[in-house]
Symmetry: C2
Subunit: 244 residues, 2 copies
Amino acid sequence: MNIILIEGSEVVEKKVKLADKRAEHIVEVLKSRPGDTVRVGMISGKKGTGTILDMTNKPPSVFLSLDLCEKAEPIPPIDLLLALPRPIMLKRIFSQAAALGFGSITMINANRVEKSFWEASLLNEVCYRSHLLHGLEQAMDTRLPKIGFFRRFKPFVEDILPDMMQDYSHCLMAHPGESGTLKNVLTGKPERVLLAVGPEGGWVDYEIGRFIEKGFSVFSMGRRILKVDTAVISLHGRVSALLE
Amino acid sequence: MNIILIEGSEVVEKKVKLADKRAEHIVEVLKSRPGDTVRVGMISGKKGTGTILDMTNKPPSVFLSLDLCEKAEPIPPIDLLLALPRPIMLKRIFSQAAALGFGSITMINANRVEKSFWEASLLNEVCYRSHLLHGLEQAMDTRLPKIGFFRRFKPFVEDILPDMMQDYSHCLMAHPGESGTLKNVLTGKPERVLLAVGPEGGWVDYEIGRFIEKGFSVFSMGRRILKVDTAVISLHGRVSALLE
């Protein structure tokens, strides 16, 4: 936890009382004392410092006075379009993607997505939000990626995707194999990038065809087959390196 | 398991008998039958197919005839110099790094490496090898990264590192903060890259100074602080994108 994240609703007159794992972190890991400051951020808002006005060690509770004058980080220039992975993998992806910085993460169906994945409790905001926050706490960011779920592939591609694509200079699709490299497709002056990552086992040809028809460019990271979570991080790195 | 990996010592007259998790995978996941072929590779050697001559379902056992005519993948152009992480994280790094492809992974000490990490059983080849193999099975590669451990920072930097650095066109050090980007330091015609990644909490100034003195270039991925495993994957992606 490199930053203590606070909900707007918790703040009263620029002060906040914490009595959960955040207080535990301040007491037990940071070993802070009254008068010390800790890094804090408002979820979806500014960052700054919190000064400890009062605290108890057992049970851990901390009363902070907030001074938030740093702007939130800019919206990351990469968005993720992801075939819904199995819940245990999605958990890891949420936290690592929030740490790396994606503007949005949109989960869609695909032929090789198991139906049962759509029943996971993790798809409820109250469940997935904690994993996103975990990533933000690691990265010292306050900006939650926007999350969306579309359970039917064809209506998504036909009715939602074309409008969505207007926001991007580049819509890219990673697919292992013999296509060109990322450098070949991320040409010109890239601004915002939409990155589509397939399910375990990959997209089927029909899906690739529909994405290409809508205007996606396919590229390859080589012949190695990666787990979806590894692929998401590695692709974020690749796109970031070329956007810098 | 996208490829069945076989030790040289297991092969007798181009045939091999499997009765462990590899046989289980062939029987239970692939649901193969006698006469079917599966993708196989010799550890540190060639890849090809194995034809099932005979098998039993319970307990799972498979007798394969091997036809190995594809060369091993080329040695990946990126090597990793890593401040020894905590064992649970190192486990994940071994498997993900082998999947992504590093030529070698050298673990060294640093000020912020906890002493106890050096006592982990994972530092024995018999323990870490299975995690590397797991990554290769995922990526369909046969080439194990070379693994090294150096428990003392100063002797490593003074006596080992200068010779080691001869093998690289670029020796790079990632450090969060205000340095230049990767593009600024990965200039000219990069061939092999040695990438140094610090411990949780980062390198201390003394360590950064010694690396720079020896010829490393420092770059930043921005202000976000990443977990070491996320950083390793993301950095591998960034360097790969610029090497392509």
